[in-house]
């Protein structure tokens, strides 16, 4: 299936290669570089590139291209999903997934890749299993290893690999037993010029951090499970139980994992938590443009809107801006034409605004389109859809765990067309 893997950095250098079958010369990447040159943006490189003898399937994350070389028919999503899993694993192991981190830990990276694929077919991708086979590098362990000569590599087949619960290690022990669940909802919306909603939908996830001893069996129930339109589960969730009772019942993996992602459809009315007043005009013949932007809260259920960040790709004709924010800081990059305004918290009494003028290229005609405004924000302690966890119970173990649930709403792809 997957023949080889090349890691390419943003400047187009191959800094790591791994082959699972016969060696494929790195010249095969030339086709990739060609495509990279043709693409105006790094994101525009097509994920699947056919070459005379191979097919290149790549993903771009953290400004690194992970290029897999394929020789014969295989579902492309299979490869893409696997590559993303590799990135996730690196991130899990090294905290970050950067070129430097990979280069520093090249041996662990190699050991991981060796375990994750056998002959190009995924072998172990579950992070709990991998961590039993290859322990993540920590400073303490490095020191201990140098002194005692012990290794980072496990000698036993991880118990998870063979069990019906492959995601959980056995023999987990904690002195403080705790289970935290974060309900995070992201709102994707497109707002048109007049302020009316074109499309809005809520995507939610429940991320869990479970540190419980033994083999706990958890159930999580919601006050209003009907809200969830479409769900996807971590493999640990028992599907039958969900179908029948709308209860999440599962033996959790150890540590951090994504329990559930769900979708609240656009058919339900979605309350848009912020509004934007804008007035962006370019006059024909003049080298000046007006720019006015005001943000305000709307339907936030009394919670404050925080960490507001506005960015907008201004038209190519804009040379510079002279703007005055009522709060926060703004930057404009004259090269990429990217305007960023870090607003911070919205104070309902004194709405934040950004006003001023833009200078345009002299003689150039007026841009056809006003820029789109992308907004990011956070609302703590509230899930926009109104989803509420009813209770969390634990069976199978005797101790009493500490349980915590947190709600948060974030902006996903929140765009305002002007």
């Amino acid at each position: 299936m997957i023949h080889s893997l090349f890691l390419v950095n943003s400047s187009g250098d191959i800094f790591l290669e791994k082959h699972w079958k016969s060696v494929v010369s790195r010249s095969v990447c030339d086709y990739f570089f060609e495509a990279q040159e043709r693409a105006s943006e790094p994101e525009n490189v097509p994920p699947v590139i056919p070459t005379p003898h191979h097919y290149l399937i790549s993903v771009l994350r953290h400004r690194i291209y992970f290029v897999a070389v394929i020789q014969s028919e295989v579902p492309p999503l299979f490869v893409i999903e696997f590559l993303h899993r590799v990135v996730d694993t690196f991130q899990d192991y090294f905290g970050v997934c950067t070129e430097a981190a990979i280069k520093d830990n090249v041996v662990v990276v190699y050991e991981l890749l060796e375990e994750m694929l056998d002959n190009g077919f995924p072998l172990a991708t579950e992070s709990n299993i991998l961590k039993e086979l290859i322990k993540p590098p920590t400073i303490l362990r490095t020191v201990v290893n140098t002194i005692t000569g012990s290794t980072n590599v496990g000698e036993q087949l991880p118990t998870g690999q063979l069990s019906v619960v492959p995601w959980r290690r056995t023999g987990v022990k904690y002195t403080n037993n705790e289970a935290y669940f974060d309900v995070v909802e992201e709102i994707d919306a497109i707002i048109d010029k007049s302020g009316s909603t074109i499309t809005a939908e809520i995507q939610g996830v429940i991320d869990a951090c479970v540190k419980l001893t033994g083999m706990p069996d958890l159930t999580l129930s919601f006050m209003n499970p009907r809200l969830l339109d479409d769900v996807s589960f971590h493999p640990c969730v028992r599907f039958k139980r969900w179908e029948a009772e709308r209860i999440l019942s599962f033996i959790p993996p150890d540590g951090n994992f994504r329990l559930l992602s769900y979708h609240v459809s656009s058919q339900n009315l979605v309350a848009i938590p912020v509004y934007v007043k804008h007035n962006i005009t370019f006059r024909e013949g003049s080298s000046q443009g007006r720019f006015e932007l005001t943000l305000g809260p709307k339907q936030t259920m009394g919670k404050g809107v925080e960490a507001v960040l506005v960015n907008s790709q201004l038209p190519r004709g804009v040379l510079n801006t002279n703007l005055n924010p009522s709060q926060g800081t703004y930057t404009f990059d004259p090269v990429t034409k990217l305007l960023t305004w870090d607003v911070g918290k919205i104070n309902p009494q004194k709405l934040p605004s950004l006003k001023g003028s833009m200078s345009l290229q002299a003689g150039a005609s007026k841009p056809d389109e006003n820029p789109t405004i992308n907004i990011q924000f956070k609302i703590q302690q509230s899930a926009l859809s109104g989803l509420k966890v009813n209770r969390l119970d634990m069976y199978g173990e005797k101790y009493k765990p500490f349980k915590g649930i947190k709600y948060m709403t974030k902006a996903g792809k929140f765009q305002v067309r002007t």
Binding site: I14, L16, E17, S25, R26, E43, N44, P46, P47, V48, P50, Y55, L60, R61, S72, E73, P75, P76, L77, F78, I80, E81, F82, H84, Y110, E111, E114, N119, F121, T125, T146, T151, N152, V153, G154, Q156, L157, T159, L162, S163, V164, V165, P166, T170, G171, T199, Q203, M215, D230, S232, F233, F239, I251, R258, S261, H263, S266, D368, T372, N374
Partner: protein
Amino acid sequence: MLSMSTNNSSYNDQGGADSAVEIGQETTPTSNSGAGFGLFSTDFKKNDDLKEMLENNKESLKLEAMKRIVGLIAKGKNASELFPAVVKNVASKNIELKKLVYVYLVRYAEEQQDLALLSISTFQRALKDPNQLIRASALRVLSSIRVPIIIPIMMLAIKEAASDMSPYVRKTSAHAIQKLYSLDPDQKEHLIEVIEKLLKDKSTLVAGSVVMAFEEVCPERIDLIHKNYRKLCNLLVDVEEWGQVVIISMLTRYARTQFTSPWREDGVFDENSERAFYESDEEKTRDDTEIKPYTMDPDHRLLLRNTKPLLQSRNTAVVMSVAQLYWHLAPRNEVSIVTKSLVRLLRSHREVQYIVLQNIATMSIQRKGMFEPYMKSFYVRSTDATHIKSLKLEILTNLANEANISTILREFQTYVKSQDKQFAAGTIQAIGRCATNISEVTDTCLNGLVLLLSNRDETVVAESVVVIKKLLQAQPSQHSDIIKHMAKLLDNITVSMARASILWLIGEYCERVPKIAPDVLRKMAKSFTSEEDIVKLQTVNLAAKLYLTNSKQTKLLTQYILNLGKYDQNYDIRDRTRFIRQLIVPNEKSGALSKYARRILLAPKPAPVLESAYKDRDRYQLGTLSHTINTKASGYLELSDWPAVAPDQSVRNVEVIEPVRIHPSICTALFHFCPDSSQSSEESEKSSSQSEKSSSESDIEQKKKKKMKKPPQKKNVKPPNKDRYQSVMCKPNSWVGPGFGACVCVCDFSSCRMNLLRPHLFSRRLSVVISCVSGPAFVPEKSHNLLHRMTGKGLAAQYQFTRQPCLYQPNMVSVQISLTNTSDHRLEQIHIGERSPAGLKIHCFNTIEFLEPDASVTVSMGIDFNDSTQAANFQLCTKEDQFSVSIQPAVGDLFLAVTMTEQDFRKEQGKLQGMNECSATITVTAENTSSQPLNRRVAAMANVGVVPSGQDNVHRFAGKTACSGAVLLVTVELRESSAAVITINTEKSVMGSMLLRDLKKSLAQA
């Protein structure tokens, strides 16, 4: 990469460099190992000191060296010259070092075949290691070394591993099959045998890998799947996610060859299938009873039902593969259940979006309705990548219909203004397609496009003109207004491509705008010299067409233009001018052709068809690479058409083997057991590693001898030398209903020695292993006293042989013990203490924390009697007391029933003649002369399975010993006057004669 010869020379260089070690020594290992590789000289020196480090005795130095070498490999630097130094460490005790050496070997063995052979014996040894991880990784590396010489060794190793007790090792062997096949396709036939065997495997771990091997090696042998089809369907939810993808795509292909099309007579089937879907339990009976023109094969339904939950998978590849399965296999009205999940995937990474959108694009052409409710999910965001934008546009266009077109067009208006001009151009094309598809909006679209002609951007205008041209070409009669309008625009439009297109349009339909066309030509004649080439060409074209239709008004203009063209700087234009002049102006030379000038220039031209680029993509299976790149990728397997008549359904029938009944208490015991078991296995591991350490490091020789000392094993399984087992876990209330074992029993066996010299023995073992253990024909109700309540101070215990294969380890006999507390106080911590003989292997039950008065509990344990009737003595302990107890097996309880055909029986019997046979003639009682009571009596006496017999008077039974797996064959031949001959064939002649004695007694009894 270097070729063989250069490698050899570099190896020789290395030999010479040995003497220069001292020079290399100055560069002691520094921490900044990554730096300074650029210069060849330092590179050379570094490699030298690496070599030295590898030859050092210190493990840590070796490890450091290997780490740096792996760094070199990762960078793509050549480290092949270190091969001899590295390969020496292949037998290292340090597991990390060993793994890194493996990495190196796999990378370079192909180039250094001769040296690679040195490592083979190490792997062969490791293949017999008691640790399954080591066995598996040895097989992985052995099969990854692409050295043709070792193909026979690989073949043997694969065959052996395929019957390993550890599913993990079996999984590895499935992977190895593909490796061997790519190395030597001639081994196909042998490999298919192994695949066939592994396909029967019930472990979810193996399923994905073996199907992968099947797809790679012998996708055409669809017959191998029949018997495993239902099992694969049922296992599917519990297979690991990558295996699911492979299995689903294989089953899609399979289903298309085996079932009839569900797509006929949609309407009739509608209601039935809808209900069947939600009331799936009753659905089978319904399918049978209802007489409909089309009834779905229950197996077809099984596949659809069992894949549906996987739509909720977090793995996008799994969701996509289920979606394509529904698309290709489900009745039309059920396909839409995949929509939601596909739309969900659009939230995932950019690359995932790209593939999913492509597939939706193909689907949405055929089935608009599926995605129409989710139209808004395909609205374009300014932050999307260009290829995502154009795919979304494609889908929106496909979804457009009379009802939603106004919404879509409003959305398109925004896109047209996008800063991404390539995307804006794409939008214009999309508008054009909407206009042709939906006649109601054609005029609106045309007007909108005409407005765009005044856009400042060249690409937008050009694209609009081109699209308008196409639209008008389709229905020119009604649109002379627009042509007039465009003629007026000509004064303002500067984009040459657009001007050219307008000129072409006017020329083509000059008869519909008879007044304007000559005027346009007049204007063009005026500006001809300053026009772009492409416009000049079209002007010449226009002139020629007008000359033919309206020569009165345009003759002079045409001549003027042709004269200008004659002296143009561009030779294309000069050439065209000359050609046109000869064609249209009649003179004596041109004669024949000019008569047809009108028919040549003004021939009716077919209107271009505006259709989706994804129209024909559905010839490829959705979700495949071929679909993505729209060409057949190598190794693409065609999806066949539905057969007109379904092939025989019964091929999928499997003789029902009773699932192992697990007592609920065992189940829970197992469930709570896990932590303990891993501890105890760790302990045993420790003790063994200590013993290993005690022997000095270099005494591999001695170890070899140790192995030799062990008596040569004749049976396929030798008694394990360590009390090792892996825990068993169940996922209660698993995703799957009852019907397949919820428990997977995993045992780690030290595998038997691979015997190269006696292949016939090897093959025979295989045949024995294949005959599967079946459930017991009879379970004796009788329980025996283990501990009397008086001696046990209130604790009473009874035991019973369940005759089931033992869960913990197959060579144990499973015993069920019921403990009762007859005292008036609670008994705490009931567990098993010391045992004798000391080597007795017992799988203890979990410590029972407490037992209330008058309560009783049933637990299960496994005892390895080692094929003898010697009693197992152990201590049953409570918190306060210890009681010595013993379990005495009857010889019949030491067997496991085996299913076998008569043919196999005869074959096995033929091998067990002479010493291995004992027989006796007895007089049986009258009631035992008929087959049923006789079968019952034999089964009661010994745990053997009945072999179907062709003769009425001969009854055959087969079993195997629990510990060594030796075959036991019992034949009872009834003769006249209630005489009977009992024959027992087994290698275990002592057990044979003991059983014979028991049987004699039993059958002679009334």
